[in-house]
Symmetry: C2
Subunit: 260 residues, 2 copies
DNA sequence: CGTTTAGTTGAGCATGCTCAACGGTCGTGG
DNA sequence: CCACGACCGTTGAGCATGCTCAACTAAACG
């Protein structure tokens, strides 16, 4: 086997693999290999054929797309996430580019292995359908977030989501540089600054990548998080192990960090 | 059987059903029924549980979502299209509302029937995965269309896509009221008017729902349609029957009319 | 004929972007 | 140890895109 057992273990319990038989799993990952890339490596280009399903095991990967000299960030993936599943299932070209934001460990499994496992096993195929459905719904949420909220509201909701993920503390650490966060939220770095400034009234104070919350209720009143847009609702279920497959999922793969 | 054979026939050759066995198909559609709704009927509400997979057989259906008194149109479906597949696969709540735009014939099949067919047959399950992957990719295209293009560019590309669908003629008929088209393209009716006016320079002239093209090359130069955003490229393949599953597909189901 | 509705046009405004200047931090090299 | 440069982040000014509101036209329908 060309990949470390530890890597296998890490994806074994992720999303669509976690309930399949060992034999199906073995088929699906046959020919997989692990690779480490430096920061700024382009793994995938918009419009090019896709031969592998990717898993981010360490580091982070940005998914983006461009047109006519404009560029937009679609998502940022952190461990453990998959990406480009849809293109692999359809055997077609990528619709977005993927670039490492830092030194990253990536597991690549041949598309044909995955498809073979799907064709051979209905349970597994169903699980992949569920994963794709969850990704689809993540995208729908992202579109709604983007079209129905202005930049300040998106930031406010991002912060509320992050507090939910970070133990509901009165203080969180931003997981990205602010420029990256701005891209994620669909705004310029300048406007992110201004959005943070506006949230002062709601008791939000920033220094470096630490954000403190003085008036969480006021922030939530502005953010007005909604179950049909945001995905941090069943947080309490995380503890008892009954979390739905959909929980905390982005639009592109498991454990995706907030979209836009 | 509670539904007319003609309705069955119409979905038998659509997307994920067209290559499955009769027995699988029979399982999938067991308990299905056909219903006709007047204009303005709400079929599905944002946040409510979903029990059926829907097919639009006649008329048209708008998918929309709202938050804090804002509303946005996500897609408009025309025959023959499916919708809400992702929620059915995951047995979860709808993320968008569905409303008839006119008197419409809708076929509803119980979610459990579909899921049972998927669990029993890997081929079928794979086909559903392909459908979901295609829907996902339609949404990615929609997001890119929306974030990378301004309103005039979106209209220009919409028009180019429509000409491709309408025989590449120098004149097309708009399939919707302009207010509906505006919602579809993510702008106000006022701005749609202005966008049409701007396209005068590119030889576009409108009267009623007839749009004529004087300088198709100029329009295309402005629109700059791209294979990774627009989906009218493999048009030629339609004729020889080798059209990819993905062709002319929107983000929410088969035969969806342009998203955004 | 009025009445209604779709569409257009104009004026003013809001959100968000660009460009430019400036401050603060960190790492490097003198 | 300090000086310098590179880079991130912030702030301000001006501009562009798109929205709202209102008036007006034209076609459809009673």
């Amino acid at each position: 086997m060309s990949i470390k057992q530890s890597s296998i273990d890490r994806i074994r319990h992720v999303s669509f693999f976690n309930k399949c038989d060992d034999s199906v799993f073995k088929t699906a990952v046959s020919g997989a290999f692990l690779q480490t890339f430096p920061e700024g490596t382009t793994l995938l280009i918009d419009g090019e054929p896709v031969d592998f399903l990717y898993f981010v095991l360490e580091g982070s990967v940005e998914l983006s797309a461009g047109w006519k000299s404009k560029d937009t960030t679609l998502a940022i993936l952190r461990p453990v996430s998959t990406f480009i599943l849809a293109a692999v299932v359809m055997e077609s070209d990528a619709l977005m580019s993927a670039t490492t934001l830092e030194r990253s460990e990536v597991l690549m499994i041949p598309g044909e292995s995955l498809r073979r496992a799907m064709r051979e096993n209905a349970q597994f195929s169903f699980a992949v359908s569920e994963e794709l459905a969850a990704c689809y719904r993540g995208l729908v949420r992202a579109i709604k977030n983007h079209k129905l909220r202005d930049s300040t509201e998106r930031l406010a909701n991002y912060l509320v989501t992050q507090t939910a993920r970070q133990d509901n503390a009165a203080q969180i650490t931003l997981p990205h540089e602010k420029r990256v966060l701005a891209a994620l939220l669909g705004m310029t770095p300048e406007n992110l600054s201004r959005a943070f400034a506006k949230l002062n009234k709601q008791g939000v104070s920033v220094s470096g990548n630490i954000v403190k919350f003085d008036k969480m209720d006021a922030l939530k009143r502005l953010a007005r998080p909604a179950p049909t847009i945001d995905n941090h609702y069943k947080q309490s279920e995380q503890l008892d192990g009954k979390a739905s497959t959909e929980r905390q999922r982005g639009g592109h793969g498991t454990e995706t960090d907030a979209i836009y």
